[in-house]
Amino acid sequence: MNCREWEERIAGDPEDPGVVSHLADCAGCSVFASGLRETIEWLRDAHREEIAPGAYTAVRARVRSRLEARRRWGWVWAAGVVAAGLVLGVGVRSKMRVEELPAVVLRVPGAPEVKVSAERRMPARKPAWRAGGSLHRKAEEVLVKIETGDPDVVIYWIAETKGDY
């Protein structure tokens, strides 16, 4: 294994016994190992430097505003779902109620007593062409009088019986 190949091993695990043993014998690799250690330490120090507090504040504010917006929308959604549920529920319930309704019994006040009497109003006029008499029964006008339970209400109408012609 040449020094170039050793470098990756050193970089991977400088505490490895094989590496430690090689470093004791190889000046070049020892320089590389110490240089590597310094570089990592140096970068680590740079990494530890603080970021401006404003950068954190901005993230916090953005997270908070997103969560608050989500919560507001959550309420809107919840209200919408509840409203939709109510509408749906009422619809279903009313449909169910229609189906479950007992048969409706209408209590209609008793019909007025009607007394029907019919009397011949006038003799049917004989048309001239029938004057000679016929076997056929002739149509006659009939006056129908309907007396209701209310003495003030009397219904009349004129009906005509059907003749045979």
Partner: protein, 194 residues
């Protein structure tokens, strides 16, 4: 290096934290914000190293925490917030890079704060940040993730393997290659400057 991870994981198990999670699960946004505060550095800085741009890293962080909110129950059951957050952060960064392969050039933006008033030191720190960003950019996606989690965030090889969804042997190989590449890059960078 293990301090960050250790601290985060130790906090995962406290009763106080459990109560905070419970409150957040019930919809308490203040409680959730407390959780975000606890892990925001872990998520944002990891994302920044992986995607190379603060704006993208903030987008990723936002999505990570929104997912955390949706999965609080599941994450709590795992009893490993840090592990879950690393995993989701890495996955979202990969998704982002797949969607936008041409990443924005890394700049030494004003987002990074130097605690030192000495101008010379500030320049050194700025350069260090730039070299860090550039050396991460030369790595393949998986090598970068392995290096960031193992060497910068200080996770164990096992934890990195879990976060990346691969074997420990694969992680070792990726880290080894990544370290060699980074070492060569840094050496070349300073040699060119001399």
């Amino acid at each position: 290096m293990g301090t960050l991870t250790f601290t985060a994981m130790a906090l995962d198990g406290t009763d106080d934290f459990s109560r905070t999670i419970e409150a957040a699960r019930k919809g308490d946004l203040d409680a959730f914000e407390a959780i975000v505060r606890r892990y925001e550095r872990l998520v944002l800085v990891t994302a920044l190293r992986l995607v190379g741009s603060l704006l993208d890293a903030q987008d990723v962080s936002q999505e990570v925490f929104l997912r955390l909110y949706r999965n609080l129950g599941k994450v709590e059951a795992e009893r490993n917030f840090s592990g879950w957050l690393y995993r989701v952060t890495v996955n979202l960064c990969h998704d982002l890079r797949r969607r936008r392969p041409e990443m924005v050039a890394v700049e030494d933006g004003p987002e990074l704060v130097s605690g030192d008033a000495d101008p010379q030191r500030q320049i050194t720190e700025a350069e260090r940040r730039r070299v860090l960003a550039m050396s991460l950019r030369i790595l393949a996606e998986k090598e970068r993730a392995a290096l960031v989690l193992r060497d910068l965030e200080g996770l164990s090889t096992e934890e990195v393997a879990r976060a990346l969804g691969c074997s420990e042997a694969t992680v070792r190989s990726q880290i080894s290659k990544a370290r060699v590449k980074v070492r060569e890059f840094v050496e070349r960078y300073f040699r060119r400057r001399e």
